[in-house]
Symmetry: C2
Subunit: 349 residues, 2 copies
């Protein structure tokens, strides 16, 4: 339809670098031709997973022993909420700008384990901690508004913190030590430009043994001969969800290579800069941009967000609407151009 | 190293048909070139998932509303054991030939929910049902010996049954109505020759609402605007684990096409026939083949199984050992040849 669509939806799924696509295609070719079996094959699959674990630790700012490989942010959230010691009356605090990937696991903790789920406005969460609060579960960057959580205030509460990093990891600087969070769940397919159905979970070393394994399997037990009576496998790998498929690892690693070569520092500066520029241009042209932070998301009000998204698509720009929020959201990556941003501002308002 | 290895390990991962590899490669190329976003892209991803759900229903013998798309057999087992109403003292009955993918979730139900896990010899399970037994969780085909469960006797107990179909779906005829089971968890990458990290779960229609959603997320709630207070999504899709990636669906569908064209009836006859021939040849040559059923697995005793697997690999045949079992196991698919079977029998004994 178009020479080229301007994709501004990395908040759903990011661009797939050509080199990453090639790596995955080559891996599939090799698996079909050489077969999926034998010691060499399985050692290679495990080696790729182990390399990916280390490489995921880099943008998180942790060690690989603290990383679980998952299939989504939601997997990580479920691993934490499902494995965290929570009983009747214990409170989990969250905000009014959370994604179903956080809210659905919270609803389950309430229904099945009697947890109290308290939802407070985004900016009030640090002050809302009560003596019943056992866990804070919220976004690092709001998927609705692009606001940045005051993680310093969260850490100051002393309550364990799970951050949903869906709109942060790869988009803005993330360092779990600086954030002082206990758990950080992130996707692979958004700002890391990795495979659909990939993700990572950081579990702070001191928390690993406190967290039950909510989704156990072959990889979560130390003793494969006595899985019924075995202790857990070493490190956060015990929380891995799913088979670490060679195709998934190959693609993820190649995408991380592309990003690392472009330079994390540049990526983390360029994306937010362009997003800020978009917000500015939109506001200048009269759009009602909602309060945001130094992030890569820009949301503005629309009478009919779905129709507006479709109209923009027909103009060659891919953005999305936020269910129930009356908002249209653009995701601005370091790979976006001044031209894309300019066009969108002109067309949207 | 070899002109061609004889892969007899579909019980771990099956062969990847050339046509399936092509479909996945093409899908990746298209996602990299056209981008992963916009209404058309997401509609296509959902459409592929919906088609895959229907196609998975065929070899299971159920309707697509009873199928959840998962990333592994273990995902399905966790969805059932984690979601089944079980409390302190309730018993789950299992056998002494189960995979860690069943035993690890059972260990978790014991530790976290006070369930009593009773392990009985394979053939004794139907008679071992007590008045405390709330669920039977066992293999349809033993991954160790290749024995076939007496599912008629299981059904006659009246206790809900979860079958682990890891060594059955695609290998032998499966019909969940005939089996009268309530839950059937299966892999995609073994006997269905699909992508690594894929699987399906059958949940009998009458059981869908009884089963809690153990791993909730975006797809499990009916109302995406109010996920905290939403009811469940329609059908067994609420138990889906992970994003239904287009690449995974495309590959799985193409593999199912290849198998359907070869003919399920032929596949289900040919694999077990060749496996029986292998067992016969091995026994004739003095190998101690363990008691098995009309399935596609053949296991025999070895003093040092790992060394035997390596020796056979060096002869060009890919088989595996069973941890702690003192066994070497060959997986014989309809795609295996008389020659492979003859070679293995000659070399193994």
């Amino acid at each position: 339809m178009f020479e080229r669509l301007a994709f501004m939806n990395a908040g759903s799924e990011g661009p797939l670098p050509a080199r990453a696509a090639d790596a995955a295609r080559e891996r599939i070719r090799s698996e079909a031709e050489r077969g999926r079996g034998g010691k060499v094959y399985f050692e290679q699959v495990l080696e790729l997973a182990s390399t990916l674990r280390s490489r995921c630790a880099e943008p998180l700012g942790c060690v690989s022993e603290e990383v679980a490989l998952t299939g989504s942010t939601t997997d990580g959230v479920n691993a934490v909420i499902g494995g965290f010691p929570i009983g009747p009356g214990d409170e989990i605090l969250t905000t009014d700008e959370e994604h179903p990937g956080v809210l659905a696991p919270l609803a389950s903790a309430r229904r099945r384990r009697g947890a109290k789920i308290r939802v407070v406005p985004w900016e009030e969460i640090p002050a809302a901690v009560s003596e019943d609060t056992r866990l804070i579960a919220c976004s690092h960057v709001s998927w609705m508004s692009g606001r940045l959580m005051d993680t310093e205030a969260l850490a100051a509460t002393g309550v364990p913190v799970l951050l949903d990093g869906a709109q942060a990891l790869g988009a803005i600087p993330v360092d779990v030590r600086t954030l002082k969070c206990d758990f950080y769940a992130a996707p692979g397919q958004k700002w890391l430009c990795g495979p659909s159905g990939s993700g990572s979970l950081f579990v702070r070393a001191e928390r690993i043994d406190e967290l039950e394994i909510a989704w156990p399997g072959f990889g979560s037990v130390a003793d494969h001969e006595q899985p019924l009576d075995s202790g857990p496998a070493e490190g956060a790998a015990r929380f891995d969800v799913g088979f670490p498929a060679g195709v998934r690892s190959s693609l993820a690693l190649a995408s991380l290579d592309v990003l690392a070569e472009a330079g994390w520092e540049w990526i983390h500066r360029r994306g937010p800069e362009l997003a800020a520029r978009l917000a500015e241009l939109l506001a200048e042209r009269g759009a009602e941009v909602v309060p945001r932070g130094p992030t890569t998301l820009v949301s503005w009000r629309a009478a009919d967000p779905a129709a507006e998204v479709e109209r923009l698509f027909n103009e060659g720009i891919v953005v999305r609407s936020i269910p129930g929020g009356g908002l249209v959201r653009a995701s601005v990556g370091a790979w976006s151009s001044e031209e894309d941003v300019g066009c969108l501002a002109q067309l949207a308002s």
